[in-house]
Amino acid sequence: MPSSVIINQVSKSYKEVKALNNISLSIGKGELFGFIGPDGAGKTTLFRILTTLLLPDCGNVTVEGFDTVSDYKKIRQIVGYMPGQFSLYQDLSVEENLKFFASIFKTTIEANYHLIEDIYRQIEPFKDRPAGKLSGGMKQKLALSCALVHKPAVLFLDEPTTGVDAVSRKEFWDMLARLKKENITILVSTPYMDEASRCDRVALIQEGRILDRNTPQGIVAAFENPLLAVKSGNMYRLLFDVREFQGTIRAYRSGEFIHAAMADLNMHDLLRNYLEDKGHENIEVHEAKPDVEDCFMALMNNPHPVPPPFGGGSKGGGQTNDHQ
């Protein structure tokens, strides 16, 4: 697959805080690529560099063969960017916003209507409403329409689903799956680990570093330890008890179960006996398939709180940070 976006050893710091630490990645044309990580991981910083809005301290990036520093004007013509913060004109109507974006890219709404039709149709009944008066879900659809109206080669979506309910999130990903068929390269960032499965490939990102990159299946297949799902009548005590069990490496809540990464295979019966001895009732122990979140936690090198970045509040300073 030819590359659409090539990131080569990119680092970026804000004062003492290393927002991005030597990131290298290659994303193929037409790929739906996810950056999965919590707030503060560096996702927004990376997206701003990729969209030419921020200069890297070192390293370089090309988008569709253009360098983000020397060819920034070319890149701006061929990419669509939906920032995490709603940044359309609040006092322009839905239709006016869309027309505005079409006109600055020297095109019309009609020219690429097939691209946005699916999304825009849902907000068209409100086309005369000021964008600032739309609900969250509708704002998101308008922002996506505006980012698509000029038929970009690459689409950057920075946390499009943050704070969005599970149903709307699912619908949003269904929309992306349809867009992918138009052969647009799509880069999406999200803090929701379960959304990884909707991507062709993902990079797990934490504290400015890539923890792993692979297909969602590949990420999960690389999980090293046997994983057990455990349940009992007293989930509150169960967590403490499972953590104290000798064979347990890590134990944490996962939906209705506690997931326990084990040091060895075949710990199943030992754990059950141990829990019975501890007085637990209605014990359920079975092998579990790890998901992306299990993998992410295994990969985070510091499972306990790490000292915060000190010396000035640059993490929260101004526009160039991840907290919105």
Binding site: G37, P38, D39, G40, A41, S135, G136, G137, T162, G163, V164, D165, A166, V167, S168, R169, K170, P191, Y192, M193, D194, Q206, Y236, L239, Y252, R253, S254, G255, E256, E293, F296, M297, M300, P303, P305, V306, P308, P309, F310, G311, G312, G313, S314, K315, G316, G317, H323
Partner: protein, 245 residues
């Protein structure tokens, strides 16, 4: 539904809230037990925030009987505010003040004495193992720390109920679980926890959840019962079934 005020720390009967002709809360009826972890779920725009504002004594209901910690949501809103704690991702702490200053400030608002504030602060900072950072400005702290601190401050006055509005949004998976350890601990000590979340695995951690759709509560039960009712494996599927109607 039989209602017993001594057991039900939140009692809501036919709560209606209208904005002009728009009905944001359409005859909500539910109760929350003392010490319960109650998940208040719903799609964006379903009316959750409106209901929470009423329960916190910030907005007046249009109609219905609403008692929070035994207090009336029409006449005793100031007393309600003293008996609850609140945090969300959007509003938690003052970014440009230090950890210690935030404790002092919020402790003062809750009417705690200086000595009580100091004791509470020491207790939480020791528990979070961040005593040596007490004079750090909040802004410089990782999000996960902020959220844990905000939660500690929201319960420092030992409220009857703490309202958590998407408290773990955007937090990494390990910190998210540490946050839930704190929630369980608070509930264990008798504080009722009323929370919203978009993480459906967190819905499983609640003792009971309600799911709001278009201003109404469409379902309210334990996660186990809800999954059984819809014959599905996860709360996400329950949510999608209900909210997609």
């Amino acid at each position: 539904m039989t209602i017993n005020d001594h057991q039900h720390i939140i009692h809501v009967e036919n709560l209606v809230k209208k904005f002009g002709s728009f009905v944001a809360n359409d005859h909500l009826s539910f109760h929350v037990k003392k010490g319960e972890i109650f998940g208040f779920l719903g799609a964006n725009g379903a009316g959750k925030t409106t209901a929470i504002k009423i329960l916190c004594g910030l907005w007046k209901p249009t109609a219905g009987i609403i008692k929070v910690a035994g207090l009336d949501a029409y006449r005793e809103t100031e007393k309600i505010k003293k008996n609850i704690g609140y945090m969300s991702q959007k509003f938690s702490l003052y970014d440009d003040m230090t950890i210690a200053e935030n404790f002092t400030f919020f402790g003062g608002i809750y009417g705690l004495r200086r000595k009580e504030i100091r004791l509470k602060m020491n207790f939480f900072l020791e528990k979070l193992e961040i005593m040596e950072y007490r004079d750090r400005v909040i802004q410089a702290l990782p999000l996960g720390w902020k959220q844990k601190l905000a939660f500690s401050i929201a319960i420092m006055h030992e409220p009857a109920i703490v309202f958590l509005d998407e408290p773990t949004s955007g937090v990494d998976p390990v910190t998210r679980r540490q946050f839930w350890d704190m929630i369980y601990e608070a509930a264990h000590e008798g504080i009722t926890v009323f929370l919203t979340t978009h993480y459906m695995d967190e819905a499983e951690y609640c003792e009971r959840v309600s799911i709001m759709v278009d201003g109404r509560i469409e379902a309210l039960d334990t996660p186990g019962e809800l999954k059984k009712r819809f014959s599905v494996q996860s709360m996400e599927e329950v949510f999608i079934r209900l909210a997609r109607k």
